[in-house]
C-alpha cells in the first residue's frame, strides 16, 4: 500500500526506482557518478586510451587550480540558466524543450544594444532586459498554442526552436551583420559587456546573474504562493484545480519565467563571453546550450540549488574535456571525450529520469482526462 507499489513503468524501471528511492540523494548522485565514470573508463580502455591518465587530466583541467575552476564555472553559467528553463516548466508539469530557441532569440536581442549608446552599467542592464524579454516573448508562442489550441509543448517548442534557429541565422547574416566581419554580428560595445571576473579566463560577472536567477527561482517556487501554485499544478493538476489554482495561469507563468532564464543565457553568452561579444554565423557558441541545460537539470534533480552544483560539475566536465585532448602521450580525441562525458551525464541523469517520466505521464493522463471531461459540458453551454 506504499507509494513504491503504485509506480507505473516497466519492471526494470520499477526495480531501479525501488533501489534508488531508499538512498540519500547525495549518495545516489555519487553512486551514479561512479557508475558513469566506470562506464567511461571501460569505453576508453576498450579503445586503447589510458582511463586513469585521462581522468587525471579531466580532474586537473576541471578543478586543478583557480584558472581551471574559473573556466569550469564560466562554462556552467549559461547551463544554469537553460537548466532552470527546463526545470521551472517541469515543476509546472510541462516538458519544455524550447530553451534552445529562446537562447538564440535572447542572444540576438542582446546584440541589438550595439546600435545605441548608454552609460556603462545601464547599457548592460538594458541588454539583460532585452534578452530576458525576447526569451519570454519567444516562450509565449508555445504557451499560447497550448492554452488556446491545446498543442502539446513538446511539439510546439521543437518547432519554435527551428523557427528561432533560422530566424537568428537570418538576423545574423543580413540584419545584425558586421559589414567588415560577415561571419558574425556587430560586437556588443564595452559599455554593455559583463566585465571579466577572473583575468585570463572566460569567467565574467554573468555568473552572478545566473546564481541570482537560480536563487530567485528557488525562492519563488518554494517560498511564495505563486510558486506553490506552479508546483501543485505540475504534480497533480486535478488537485490544483480543486484548490482554486488557475492552471492556465501557472502554465503561462512557467513558460514566461523559463523564457526569461533562456533569454538570460543568450545574454550571458554574448555580453559575457570573451572574446567575441557577438553572435557568430552558424551560432556555434549558442548551439546545444538549451539541450545541455536539460541534462544539467536532470543531474541537478530539477532543483535550482541542485542545478547550481550540477552546472559546476557539467562545466568541469567540459573544461576538463578540453584538456583530455592534449594531455599525456596518448591523448583522448574530442569525439571519445564526448562519448565519455555522455556516459557520465546519462548515468547521473538516470535516477531523476526514472522519477520524472512516470510521474509526468501519470499527471498528464489525469489532466487530459479532466480536460476531455470538461469539453462536452462547455460545448453544451
Amino acid at each position: 500500500m506504499t507509494a513504491s507499489e503504485v509506480q507505473p513503468g516497466g519492471r526494470l524501471l520499477r526495480g531501479v526506482h525501488r533501489t534508488l528511492t531508499g538512498l540519500h540523494p547525495a549518495l545516489e548522485s555519487v553512486l551514479a557518478a561512479v557508475v558513469g565514470l566506470l562506464v567511461g573508463a571501460a569505453l576508453m580502455y576498450i579503445w586503447g586510451y589510458d582511463p586513469w591518465k585521462a581522468y587525471w587530466a579531466l580532474l586537473r583541467g576541471a578543478y586543478g587550480g583557480s584558472y581551471e575552476i574559473a573556466s569550469s564555472i564560466a562554462r556552467g553559467v549559461p547551463l544554469v540558466l537553460t537548466a532552470l528553463t527546463f526545470s521551472i516548466c517541469l515543476r509546472g508539469g510541462m516538458f519544455n524543450i524550447g530553451a534552445e530557441g529562446q537562447v538564440y532569440v535572447g542572444a540576438a536581442a542582446a546584440v541589438c544594444v550595439a546600435y545605441f549608446k548608454l552609460p556603462p552599467g545601464l547599457h548592460l542592464l538594458v541588454g539583460i532586459a532585452f534578452a530576458a524579454v525576447a526569451g519570454a516573448v519567444w516562450s509565449l508562442g508555445p504557451a499560447l498554442l497550448k492554452l488556446t489550441r491545446g498543442v502539446h509543448e513538446v511539439i510546439s517548442t521543437i518547432m519554435f526552436n527551428w523557427i528561432a534557429r533560422f530566424l537568428v541565422f537570418y538576423l545574423v547574416a543580413y540584419v545584425l551583420v558586421d559589414a567588415r566581419q560577415g561571419q558574425r554580428t556587430v560586437q556588443i560595445p564595452l559599455s554593455a559587456r559583463f566585465p571579466v571576473l577572473v583575468r585570463g579566463t572566460d569567467l565574467s560577472y554573468s555568473v552572478f546573474l545566473a546564481v541570482a536567477f537560480a536563487l530567485f527561482v528557488y525562492f519563488l517556487l518554494w517560498h511564495t504562493a505563486t510558486g506553490y501554485e506552479v508546483r501543485a499544478a505540475g504534480l497533480t493538476p486535478t488537485a490544483a484545480r480543486y484548490g482554486g489554482i488557475s492552471i492556465r495561469r501557472t502554465i503561462a507563468l512557467s513558460f514566461v519565467l523559463g523564457g526569461i532564464g533562456a533569454g538570460l543565457a543568450g545574454a550571458a553568452t554574448t555580453m559575457g563571453l570573451p572574446p567575441t561579444y557577438a553572435i557568430i554565423s552558424g551560432l556555434p557558441q549558442l548551439m546545444n546550450l538549451g539541450f545541455d541545460g536539460m541534462a544539467v537539470a536532470m543531474v541537478g534533480r530539477n532543483h535550482p540549488l541542485g542545478i547550481l552544483v550540477a552546472a559546476l560539475f557539467f562545466g568541469g566536465l567540459n573544461a576538463g574535456g578540453r584538456v583530455m585532448q592534449f594531455y599525456g602521450s596518448n591523448p583522448v580525441p574530442l569525439e571519445m571525450v564526448r562519448v565519455v562525458m555522455g556516459a557520465i551525464v546519462l548515468a547521473m541523469a538516470i535516477p531523476e529520469l526514472v522519477r520524472v517520466f512516470p510521474a509526468m505521464a501519470a499527471s498528464g493522463r489525469a489532466l487530459v482526462r479532466m480536460l476531455s471531461r470538461r469539453k462536452p459540458a462547455e460545448e453544451a453551454a
Partner: protein, 389 residues
C-alpha cells in the same frame, strides 16, 4: 634537425623553462567546431601539420572545439603549458580568440589560416583564392561556350570577406574565358549565377541552389561553401541520371581540397585548390628554420598555396580519401578512368587557355582583382556584370 635543436635551445633559454625538459618540440593544431572528417579544409590543416611534424621530428597534438565558447580556452590551455613551439589555428572563426590569446601570451608563437590577426607573435596565413578561382571561372566559361550553355554557377557559403576573394576571381576568370571563347569560337558571353546560401553546413541548401542553377542552364557549379559541395554534386549527379549521361556537362567544380574524385570522379572536372596543408607546413617550417615572423603571409599560385587541380593532386587526394574510408580502394582505378573521360569532354584548346591564364598570373602580366569589403566587391561586380543588368 640540427637547426631545430639550436632553435629549441634558444627557445628553452629565452621563453619557457618548461621547455628545457622537453626532448622533442611540440606543435598544436586547433580546429573550429567543424572538426575533423571534412576531407577538405580541416583535414588538410591536420595533414599539413602532421607531415611537417613528421618531417621535422616534432610531436603534434590536435585539439577540436565542441562549441565556439571553447576557442579561447583551448588556445589558453595550450599556451599556458608553455610547451608548444607553435599553435596553429585552422580557420578564420578562431580569429577573435587568437587575437585575445596572442595578447595574453606574447611569448607564444601562433599561426592562423584564413584570417589576419595583427600581433607580432602571430603568423597570419592567407590565400589568394582569387587566383585559382579565376582559373576555374575561365574553364567554366569556355566549357559553357563550347557546349552552348548560357551560364556558369557558383554556390557560396556565408558572405564573408574570404568568399569575396573567390567571387571576384571567379568573375574575372569568366570574363577572361568569355573573351577567349569569343576569339576562338565567336560565341557571345556566358552569364554568372551565384548564391550566398548563408551556411557552411546545410548540405540541403547546396543541393537546392545547384538544382536551381542547373535549371537555368549552368554548365557547372563551383562549390565555395565547404560541405555544401556534397549537395551540389548530388544535384549534378541526379541531373545526369535524368538526362542519361555519365560524363560531360554539367560539371562539378570542387574547392579547397582536390575534390575531383568525389562521386568516383564522374563529374568533378576541376577543383580550385587552396592548400591549407601547404600553409600549415610552411608555418611549422618557418618556426623550425627560425624564420618565423608575425604578419601576413600570402600564398598564391606562385607559392604553390593555391591552384587548379592537376592529375598529380588527384592521385594524392584519392589516397587521402581512401585512407579516410571515403573511397573504396578497389574503386581507385575506375575513379581515375572516369576522371580522365570527363576531362576529355573539354577540348584541348580550353585546357591550353587555362594554362595560358595561369602562366600570365604567375608572370605578373595578368593581375586578378580581389575584394575584401562589400564596397570593393560591389566595384568588381559592377566591372564584371556577367549577364546581370
Amino acid at each position: 634537425m640540427r637547426k631545430w635543436l639550436g632553435l629549441a635551445l634558444v627557445v628553452a633559454l629565452v621563453a619557457a623553462p618548461a621547455m628545457a625538459q622537453a626532448l622533442k618540440g611540440k606543435v598544436a593544431v586547433v580546429l573550429d567546431v567543424g572538426g575533423r572528417g571534412d576531407l577538405s579544409f580541416n583535414d588538410m590543416g591536420f595533414k599539413g601539420t602532421d607531415q611537417a611534424a613528421h618531417d621535422f621530428g616534432l610531436e603534434m597534438v590536435e585539439v577540436q572545439s565542441a562549441t565556439a565558447a571553447d576557442y579561447l580556452p583551448n588556445l589558453r590551455n595550450l599556451a599556458r603549458t608553455g610547451q608548444y613551439d607553435l599553435i596553429i589555428c585552422v580557420g578564420f572563426l578562431l580569429g577573435d580568440a587568437l587575437a585575445q590569446a596572442a595578447a595574453e601570451f606574447p611569448q607564444q608563437k601562433f599561426a592562423i589560416i584564413d584570417a589576419v590577426v595583427d600581433a607580432p607573435n602571430v603568423m597570419s596565413i592567407v590565400f589568394r583564392e582569387n587566383e585559382m578561382s579565376a582559373l576555374v571561372g575561365a574553364l567554366g566559361a569556355m566549357a559553357a561556350a563550347h557546349y552552348g550553355y548560357p551560364n556558369v554557377g557558383v554556390v557560396l557559403g556565408i558572405e564573408i570577406p574570404v568568399l569575396y576573394h573567390f567571387e571576384a576571381g571567379y568573375r574575372f576568370g569568366i570574363d577572361w574565358g568569355n573573351k577567349k571563347a569569343a576569339e576562338t569560337l565567336g560565341t557571345g558571353p556566358v552569364g554568372l549565377l551565384y548564391t550566398y546560401t548563408g551556411s557552411f553546413s546545410d548540405i540541403a541548401l547546396g543541393k537546392a541552389a545547384t538544382e536551381a542553377m542547373l535549371a537555368q542552364g549552368a554548365v557547372g557549379v563551383y562549390n565555395v561553401a565547404g560541405p555544401l559541395g556534397i549537395g551540389d554534386l548530388e544535384a549534378i549527379t541526379e541531373f545526369h541520371r535524368n538526362q542519361g549521361t555519365r560524363s560531360g556537362p554539367p560539371y562539378y567544380f570542387g574547392v579547397d581540397a582536390n575534390q575531383d574524385w568525389l562521386g568516383n570522379g564522374q563529374h568533378g572536372l576541376a577543383s580550385g585548390m587552396k592548400r591549407v596543408d601547404v600553409g600549415c607546413y610552411s608555418a611549422v617550417e618557418a618556426v623550425v628554420k627560425g624564420t618565423f615572423t608575425g604578419g601576413i603571409t600570402s600564398l598564391g599560385l606562385a607559392e604553390g598555396g593555391v591552384g587548379i587541380s592537376k592529375f598529380v593532386d588527384l592521385l594524392e587526394f584519392i589516397d587521402f580519401g581512401i585512407s579516410a574510408g571515403a573511397l573504396k580502394p578497389e574503386d581507385r582505378e575506375a575513379t581515375i578512368a572516369n576522371w580522365a573521360v570527363n576531362r576529355g569532354t573539354v577540348p584541348a584548346w580550353i585546357w591550353r587557355a587555362v594554362d595560358e591564364l595561369e602562366a600570365g598570373i604567375l608572370a605578373g602580366t595578368i593581375v586578378v582583382p580581389t575584394a575584401d569589403t562589400v564596397d570593393e566587391m560591389q566595384a568588381v561586380r559592377a566591372r564584371y556584370t556577367l549577364g546581370a543588368p
